[in-house]
């Protein structure tokens, strides 16, 4: 049976010499072919975890298997493309020459250099020195460098960092395109909308701990119906009788019902028939932002 997991970590931990516990016992699992969002606030341990996955940092304890190999092993790295933090290239060389250097290192043919330049739409600017590139062009060249090996697993660490809104939109489209087919993309980000828009599954890391890992759908929870009605207590009693206590909760003066939004008409009819005034009745879905702040314990808008 083919192994469906491409990244697997067990109790992965990194404590720096200064005593800082950057990553704390992370159990992470990324499946083949998915776009996995690694979500967390700045300083949560995302980059340290990714560095451990590509062998740049050795874990203090715990293990990891990436593309079937120990992190940093030549055979494993041959199947991984990575852009960790900012793209690292030689400023005095052109974009194309930089990719040629990387291609030499990775034993990849020159033809592939032109292919990846084309993929990131840098063909016409490939002859310009890397030092003269804009932030967006640098990021795209970084993605091109990561794609050179036509990797099974692409690890992108905050690829939209420093980009303007248009650059971010272009980069997201590029990542979506790259993530089509069998390739796995492991994308770290602190931008919730980005992860929600691109990723199939999400791992949320906070203070070095992986607090949850699931599909975006599961993370957002079941869909339901939000009801605002007067008198609220009477409305809640009635809805509890209709759907059971476990389906009804009250938040910020509104009643949250875990039920099919298709039942809205029936709910409205029953409440109105009981003399309860309904001021708002709509389907609701938790945003990833709400879930994130709930999971990480951070204050929204702070």
């Amino acid at each position: 049976m083919e192994n469906t997991t491409i990244v697997e970590t067990h109790s992965l931990t990194k404590r720096y010499g200064s005593g800082v516990l950057a990553v704390n016992s992370v159990d992470m699992s990324v499946r083949r072919g998915e776009v996995y969002g690694f979500l967390g606030p700045n300083g949560a341990g995302k980059t340290t975890t990714l560095r451990m996955l590509v062998g740049l940092i050795r874990p203090t304890t715990g293990t990891a298997t990436v593309a079937g190999h120990t992190p940093g092993s030549p055979s494993g790295l041959a199947r991984i493309g990575a852009l960790i933090e900012s793209p690292g290239f030689y400023p005095y060389l052109s974009g194309r020459e930089n990719l040629m250097v990387v291609a030499d290192m990775a034993s990849v043919g020159k033809k592939r250099v032109d292919e990846v330049l084309d993929m990131v739409e840098l063909t016409s600017r490939g002859g310009r020195k890397f030092g003269t590139y804009s932030t967006g062009m640098k990021q795209r060249l970084g993605v091109a460098g990561a794609l050179l090996k036509d990797p099974d697993l692409l690890i992108l660490d905050e690829p939209t960092s420093g980009l303007d809104p248009q650059g971010m939109a272009e980069m997201r489209k590029l990542i979506k395109d790259i993530g089509q087919g069998d390739r796995t993309v492991l994308l770290s980000s602190h931008l919730l909308g980005e992860v929600e828009a691109i990723c199939d599954r999400v791992g949320v890391i906070s203070n070095g701990r992986l607090v949850t890992q699931s599909t975006v759908q599961d993370l957002l929870g079941e869909e339901g119906v939000l009801v605002r009605a007067q008198p609220t207590d009477a409305a809640q009693d009635m809805l509890t009788r209709m759907f059971g206590p476990e389906a009804v909760s009250r938040r910020d003066g509104a009643i949250h019902l875990k039920t099919d939004p298709g039942k809205s008409l029936e709910i409205n009819r029953q409440l109105t028939a009981a003399g309860i005034g309904v001021s708002e009745l709509r389907p609701f879905e938790r945003s990833l932002e709400e879930v994130f702040f709930q999971l990480t314990g951070e204050k929204q808008g702070s």
Binding site: R51, R58, G72, I84, L93, V102
Partner: protein
């Protein structure tokens, strides 16, 4: 390893630091020949009398003559280049790019060292070619017959100068790896070679009427000095016999070279790339 050397060569061949340093080496050699030629033709009198003899500028003496151009100035350039090559990999973030491509850490490091030392060979060749060409120009203008040193002497000179450049380059490389910053590494390297080692050797020599001179003889550029001074001829005038033999100097310099490269390799293998 071949792939890594190819990559390192590709990235270094257009590196401004290498191109500039090749030009600097050539310029220094031309300057030394030009100034020495002028001094030889206009010796002055009394205290202002120049030391240069025109005989040292002819082709048969060019190997001996270029040693003075190559050390210590060329050695200082080698330190700067080594520090830049190793240190900038950290400041540009290219270390993480290269180490995630597939070749192991040690393969990457030794590929880098091979490509760098090949450049040291090119710098040595530049020094010798410009020196030889300058000597031909001087001889032609002076109407002196052109005769070259024996091939074996030229080869020995090339080897010795390369070793001096290589070991000083290795100091720069190792400092770049240790400090992980090019500017700081080259600063420390130059201060060590131009000041700290000189002071330490003088201090050791002064202890107990020179009883510990053998310790001073183990310092890296004491041996580089001895090796370059071993290329000497009567045309250059009287000289004090160096306290370190050429063979010993070669062995000590090779030991330094190997030691520095291995220490840096161990650090690259063990340390996290953050």
């Amino acid at each position: 390893m071949i792939a890594t050397i190819r990559a390192e060569w590709r990235k270094n061949r257009f590196r401004p630091a290498f191109l500039v340093s090749s030009g600097v080496i050539a310029g220094i050699t031309l300057l030394i020949y030009g100034v020495s030629w002028y001094q030889a033709l206009h010796p002055g009198t009394g205290d202002r009398r120049g030391l240069a003899s025109i005989a040292t500028l002819y082709p048969d003496q060019f190997v001996n003559a270029v040693m003075g151009a190559g050390f210590p100035l060329g050695a200082a350039i080698a330190i700067v280049l080594g520090a830049l090559i190793a240190g900038s990999e950290y400041s540009w973030g290219t270390m993480k790019t290269t180490l995630t491509q597939g070749p192991g850490r040690l393969t990457t490091w030794f590929g880098r060292v091979v490509a760098f030392e090949a450049w040291m060979g090119i710098l040595t060749l530049v020094l010798f070619v410009v020196g030889a060409a300058s000597s031909v120009v001087v001889a032609s203008f002076q109407g002196h017959p052109i005769a070259w040193p024996a091939a074996v002497d030229i080869a020995k000179g090339l080897g010795a100068m390369w070793l001096v450049f290589a070991v000083n380059g290795a100091i720069g490389l190792a400092l770049g790896v240790v400090i992980r910053h090019s500017a700081a590494a080259l600063g420390v390297g130059l201060i060590y070679v131009l000041a700290v080692e000189v002071l330490l050797v003088r201090f050791v020599d002064s202890l107990n009427n020179g009883a510990y001179q053998w310790v001073g003889n183990l310092f890296v550029n004491q041996n580089a000095t001895a090796l370059t001074q071993s290329f000497h001829s009567p045309a250059f005038g009287p000289s004090v016999a160096p306290s370190i033999g050429a063979e010993q100097a070669v062995l000590v310099l090779f030991a330094y070279f190997a030691g520095l490269i291995i220490i840096a390799a161990a650090l690259i293998r063990q340390r996290d790339v953050t």
